[in-house]
Amino acid sequence: MTDTARQQRISRPFDPFDFMARYGTLIALALLILFNFAFTRNFATMQTLNVNLTQVCTIVIVAVGMTLVIATGGIDLSVGSLMAISGALAPMIFLGKIVPIDNVALAVAAAMIIAVGVAGLFGLFNGWLIARFRIQPIVATLVLFIAGRGIAQVLTNGNLQTFRVPQFQWIGLGRLFGIPVQVVLMVLLVIAAAWMLKRTVFGRQILAIGGNERAAELSGIAVSRVKLVVYTISGLCAGIAGLVVIAINSSSDANLVGMGMELDAIAAVAVGGTLLSGGKATIIGTLLGAMTIQLVRYTLLANGVPDAAALVVKAGIIVLAVWIQQHGRRA
């Protein structure tokens, strides 16, 4: 007892790195914004905010699912391909290429639900491979990373699908109280996921599995089921993101939708301070991480940094952010 008391009384001395670890991403973001105020032309406008938010949406939506997956100690490389699949399916449905539906509203609803649902099913498939056969997540999801886009391309013959369906494109172009719908969607998802991870049994179980799978199983946690659900969620998120992308572009190109998304999402998660080894995760961090990366991209573009150089800078930023995070954690 006395010792517990003693130890509690000792207040931890201020540790700059620990501080950085907690607020590092936030600080980085703030610095970036300041930099832009100073150097980027015509940065301080609503439109800038609007552009950045709308552009970061899809990454965040995917990254939320990815965070949960990574929290269980897994990873999901297939998200990009799943985006392509849902992006390819939706138009086929509401354009009536599969079965003609005359009521637009109905068609759109069906399109959204089925497309996202299918993506979810593929996510479930990932989970099944991982839970049932104990295949390492990278490989298990590599399967759909390769095959998934192929499926989307086969569905559409690789052809571009263009459309003008305001009811559908609402999720990409519409606004709620002046806020772009996709942004609202993103915020809701983030809040829901963050709350789930912090406050619910399921969230706790995800982290337990990431922390020590055997112990989790011996404590009566249905490890397999949790994994199935988590990968399904990741699939659903990818599906939604896919819809948003094609809605904005009023066209769906199975070859390109979601290209390279897995790496962007993973980078966002890592920069946000989630351990890739699992067992520790922060959704808000992921949000900040994604925004940081987005803002870096914006800054480089707006200031005319050539693509090649931009790659190098981006790499530097990622390393720096993650280094600060981890150094803080060790201190």
């Binding site: 980027t40 032309r41 015509n42 940065f43 406008t45 439109q47 800038t48 552009v51 709308t54 552009q55 391309q153 013959n157 690789g158 052809n159 571009l160 263009t162 172009l173 992308v245 904005i248 572009n249 009023s250 066209s251 190109d253 070859n255 390109l256 939708v257 290209m259 991209r297 914006y298 573009l301 707006a302 200031n303 005319g304 050539p306 693509d307 090649a308």
Partner: protein
Amino acid sequence: DAPPLKKKDTYKVGFAQTESNNPWRLAQTASMQEEAKKRGWQLVYTDAASSAAKQVADVNSMIAQGVDLIFLAPREEKPLIPAIKAAKNAGIPVILLDRNVDASLAKPGEDYVTFIGSNFIEEGQRVADWLVKNANGKTTIIELEGTTGSSPANDRKKGFDEVIAKNPDFKIVASQTGDFARDKGRQVAETLLQAHPDANVVYAHNDEMAMGAISAIEAAGKVPGKDILVLSIDGGKEAVQAVVDGKIAAVVECNPRFGPKAFDTAVAYAAGEKIPDKIINPDQFYDASNAKDLLSTAY
């Protein structure tokens, strides 16, 4: 000189495609396959998935299968040389489509039969020339480049920038890659328009990015065609339609329908006719003046 092709009524020919990740390539592949079917030739089709190295391996596998002739759409100018040399050694004639190879390393009529296609540099120039004539005051340019490092991106930039350089009152305020993709093109355009509010011309290296740029312009609350001129290359139906609607100011066609000409050339070559070193497609140029009439003929 190039290996001969003996006269037969049907052939087994290879078509080594670069990639299938954009409408233009798809149209090209389709055209080749239709033509083959029409003539009852057997087509060995490979897709290099945007890798020059794999394309060489693909060509080699065609050689191994002993095809009569190879249609090659080289991914790049230099790395495909070994493939062409290998085909020559195996006594298989090669016809290049839509992209040429480094002339200093392989000679038409010698290492390969001929090159059929468009001239990317010239495409860039034609767009620039049109702009110089019809700009009426719109001189601040944003350029959306194709995939960094790919030859159409490099050439279409080269041709355009050269002409612009000669006209001091025009200036390119930003030039960034949009990966030939609509979404990326849109995002880049959004950003650049935001950073350069004074820009009033957008030159995109292909239709996809042009369409992306248009939605970006509209999202920024401006009117494409009025506030901002959009220029593009490829001239697919969607783009020409956009010209009709006045959203795209001008677009150079780069026709992917290679089938007929390619196969004709092969037959002519087999018949022992003299084949020119370069066969340049006559490419359309669409703007407000002719778009409506030619819309039907656009691919």
